[in-house]
């Protein structure tokens, strides 16, 4: 017997509150976790959430991490609304980084204003093409994009590994798997001395505004949403299911590719095997935590970035393992999905016999 029954009218307020409840539960269980590790929870949360933001550099780092998360999540959210599940944004990010990095390597030593814009465009195209492959597979062969996008993420990782171990390896790099360091024309200049925040964050900001307008006002986004909520209604209306797949996957690939360029032309400054600390996967959580809403995603991206910073701080100050970041991300997603279930359903009271 199922334990849950649908609520007649799911509350819109609770749907917006669900992320806050999930955050609260994550903190509560996080406290237990810290206690069991013999750490004082208050102190641990101080290290986790307050300490990273107590310096200018902390805020800079927050922006550096939030930028790619928000950018990727905005793209993913378009597809998720249409129930096109691109879970391989990590791969599209890497292909974007490879394309953009390739431009930087090809024009190394050329001191011209157009190198950086060209890298950005190449990165966007690289990511979009990597997203287009699963779109083609889905529309031509009905291969589930959930599988193909994830598999292609691993292909991208190996492609990156091949390039930095082979053709693009830095000849002076003592055989480390990495490319040359990019020159200044191929880098986003830091805004402040000694901090890493740079103009790449503007790409995320502009994209957020553009996606907000796109999702709330455009007919195309409406069609994608209808396709996700009621595929038969989309067919009835004459909205193309294939177009939904293409737009979703190419768009989310494009934003992930942009994020990839932002990394190699920003904090990383070269191609190596550690371009992304899993931004492409964490952005899935950001998209859902932000309710697939452009503004919500900005807030969720900032929170997730803080989790990354807090995790690093916890490693240093509390000698906790690096897995702590993943644990907090996982708990957050778990509690969010759980809270969502209770927005739409409620516990069923035990059936009583016909008479007592």
């Amino acid at each position: 017997m199922p334990l849950l029954e649908p609520r007649p009218t799911p509350s819109a307020q609770m749907r917006l509150l669900a992320p806050l409840i999930a955050i609260g539960l994550t903190l509560a269980v996080g406290s237990l976790l810290f206690l069991s590790l013999g750490k004082n929870p208050v102190e641990a949360f101080g290290v986790f959430f307050v300490q990273p933001l107590s310096s200018g550099n902390g805020w800079s780092e927050l922006m550096v991490k939030a930028g790619p998360l928000i950018l990727i999540a905005q793209g993913l959210a378009i597809g998720f609304r249409a129930r096109i599940y691109n879970i391989g944004a990590e791969g599209q990010l890497i292909m974007g980084a490879l394309a953009g990095g390739g431009v930087a390597i090809a024009f190394d030593g050329v001191d011209a204003w157009w190198v950086l814009p060209l890298m950005v465009i190449a990165g966007a195209i690289g990511g979009a093409l990597w997203g287009a492959i699963p779109a083609l597979l889905r529309t031509r062969f009905n291969a589930q994009e959930t599988l193909t996008t994830l598999m292609l993420a691993y292909v991208a990782t190996f492609a990156l590994s091949y390039m930095v171990n082979g053709p693009w390896r830095d000849p002076e790099g003592m055989n480390f798997p990495q490319s040359i360091m990019f020159g200044d024309p191929a880098l986003f200049a830091p805004w402040f001395e000694g901090m890493r925040v740079n103009a790449a964050i503007l790409i995320a900001a502009v994209a957020s505004v553009a996606f907000w307008i796109f999702t709330s006002r455009s007919f195309l986004a409406y069609q994608l949403t209808v396709g996700g909520l009621a595929p038969a209604a989309a067919r009835y209306a004459g909205f193309s299911a294939n177009r939904t797949v293409w737009v979703s996957l190419v768009l989310s690939g494009l934003t992930a590719g942009l994020a990839g360029v932002g990394e190699v032309a920003g904090p990383v400054g070269q191609l190596n095997l550690n371009i992304s600390p899993g931004y492409g996967f964490a952005a899935i959580i950001v998209a859902y935590l932000g309710r697939l809403n452009a503004i919500g995603i900005v807030l969720a991206g900032l929170l997730m970035a803080l989790l990354y910073l807090g995790g690093e701080a916890a490693q240093v100050a509390l000698q906790l393992p690096a897995a702590i970041t993943g644990l907090f991300q996982g708990m957050l997603l778990f509690f969010l999905l759980g809270a969502d279930v209770f927005v739409d359903y409620r516990l069923k009271s035990r059936p009583k016999p016909a008479y007592a």
């Binding site: 029954e5 007649p8 455009s218 007919f219 209808v226 009835y236 004459g238 016909a354």
Partner: protein, 523 residues
């Protein structure tokens, strides 16, 4: 259908077979049964009469143990019982034939029956018993046939025989005739009368008044979850039963003549289609023509190609351009959106999830198909225009709801149907295709919808209606054709045909002149 039921031979006094008292069942948003009382004697054919949503089905599920009542008592042969689940109900001797069958298409008749038995069995012996029982009650069945090859009527026989094998004392039938031709209905009634004469009690759920009058000894009438009365159907008139059922007079449609020029608006020629679904129906060389100012009805039982024909007409499946012609323009290759732009609108059978997006507001749902009516400009939505469109539709078509902001899924079936029909009419179509216009709709809304369609056709719109309700087609249509096994008969003016003839055609028995050989089928 005016034959009166045979005299009621069961003992009117004495212990009733089944007696329900004060049965109440609440769902989150509705009280489905409210203090229901029901009594059935041995050998009695008892009708439970009521509109969709009156609570009939819930009550039957309670008796069959599929749903538990919140309050009330069940007496079975004078003994108080709790029926916790369907297998307990079967053990007591209660059998149920559901409106929607639960058969595995890839298994044989006897395998399907074996699956439902609670006790061990051997297939050979069981097959013999199936044969014996089915011949005894005039329900011929071949135990070794695969279910997918059976007609709907034959599938129902499987369900009935499955119940009869357990020698029930009470048989519940939920809207059993909605899938049968008029002739098959008469056959079913003979079987039921025979069972009753052997002492089996029968609960017969229906909203078809003439059937109840010809079959049932007594009736319990329900409205809004409550019992509004009991009656002896043979002593009532359809009008008096309808009054009990809906609380007022049965509305009648006004059908004026069309005065304009009846030029062809929607033409279908040589339309053949292989279904994607292996158990779908193949359309065989369909041809039809709907003229301005008329309503063409397509009768037939669902599963005979209705779904396939509708998608081919609406553009949800496409084919060769010249198989569907709208006002002289071939549109067979266009998708639903492009056909709508050319003036063909469509009201599908499934309102939620196809005709409307359930969680979206009515204003947002207006944009679904009416986006060409100025609700979208340069790729951007115009929410104010959509709101105004929905508001006009709500007012013009008497949609009872919380306004344009109400979610589609919050509306009752009838009101959502009025909204969808209204939305499609407001796009000023040349031709409109409507599937099951009043399915699951209460009588008041059904009358409104029928009149709306008639009025629209008299304004010069060509309307094609596909319906399982023969009475409805005879009420609103000018000409009627029959779709059976993927073939469409010649459309005949309704004055030149009758339920009997239509029923023959539903069984696939077209006369030679009616059957078009697929010689000029599209390549």
């Amino acid at each position: 259908m005016s034959t009166s039921p045979p005299p009621f031979s069961g003992p009117p006094e004495g212990t009733p077979r089944l007696e329900l008292t004060g049965i109440t069942k609440r769902y989150p948003s509705v009280v489905a049964n409210d203090g229901v009382y029901l009594k059935v004697g041995p050998g009695e054919i008892h009708a439970v009469l009521g509109e969709n949503g009156a609570g009939k089905s819930t009550l039957m599920k309670i008796i069959y143990g599929a749903v538990q009542a919140d309050a009330g008592q069940i007496q079975w042969n004078g003994r108080e019982v709790v029926i916790a689940n369907p297998s307990e109900a079967r053990r007591l001797g209660i059998g149920m034939v559901f409106q929607h069958f639960s058969l595995f298409e890839t298994l044989t008749v006897v395998e399907n029956i074996a699956l439902a038995l609670d006790e061990p069995f051997d297939l050979k012996g069981l097959a013999a018993r199936v044969k014996e029982v089915s011949t005894r009650y005039g329900l011929p069945l071949d135990p070794d046939r695969l279910v997918y090859s059976l007609s709907v009527g034959e599938r129902q026989r499987v369900e009935i025989v499955r119940c009869l094998l357990q020698e029930p004392q009470l048989l519940i039938l939920d809207e059993p005739t909605s899938v049968l031709t008029p002739q098959a209905v008469q056959k079913l009634f003979e079987t039921l009368r025979r069972l009753a004469s052997e002492g089996v009690s029968i609960l017969y759920i229906s909203h078809k008044l003439h059937e109840i009058q010809s079959l049932c000894h007594s009736a319990t009438v329900m409205r809004g979850g409550k019992v509004t009365g009991t009656a002896t159907p043979a002593k009532e008139t359809p009008a008096s039963l309808a009054r009990m059922m809906i609380g007022r007079e049965l509305p009648v449609c006004d059908v004026p003549a069309f005065t304009g020029e009846a030029t062809p608006a929607l033409t279908v020629r040589g339309l053949s289609h292989e279904p994607d679904d292996p158990f779908g129906t193949r359309l065989k060389d369909i041809a039809l023509e709907v003229r301005r100012g008329e309503i063409l009805g397509i009768a037939g039982i669902s599963g005979n190609g209705q779904a396939e024909l509708l998608s081919a007409l609406s553009g949800e499946t496409t084919g060769p351009a010249d198989t569907v012609i709208l006002s002289g323009k071939p549109v067979g290759h266009l998708d639903a959106g492009r056909r709508r732009k050319q003036g063909l609108t469509f009201v599908p059978e499934e309102r939620l999830g196809r005709g409307a997006v359930p969680p979206m507001s009515l204003a947002e749902n207006a944009t679904l198909s009416a986006h060409g009516m100025g609700l979208v400009k340069k790729g951007f939505l115009r929410p104010k225009a959509a709101w105004a469109f929905a508001k006009t539709c709500i007012e013009r078509f008497d949609v009872r709801c919380g306004g344009p902001g109400a979610a589609a899924r919050s509306l009752s079936g009838g009101n959502l149907q009025k909204f969808i029909v209204g939305r499609e009419i407001m796009q000023k179509p040349i031709a409109m295709v409507v599937a099951q216009p009043t399915w699951g709709v209460d009588v008041g809304a059904a009358a409104f919808l029928r009149q709306t369609l008639i009025d629209l056709s008299r304004e010069g719109v060509a309307i094609l209606v596909i319906s399982e309700e023969l009475e409805e087609l005879f009420e609103i249509c000018d000409r009627i054709a029959v779709l059976a096994e993927g073939r469409l008969s010649e459309a005949v003016p309704k004055a030149q045909t009758n339920a009997e003839k239509i029923g023959m055609q539903m069984s696939g028995l077209f006369s030679a002149a009616d059957t078009r050989e697929p010689a000029h089928a599209a390549a």
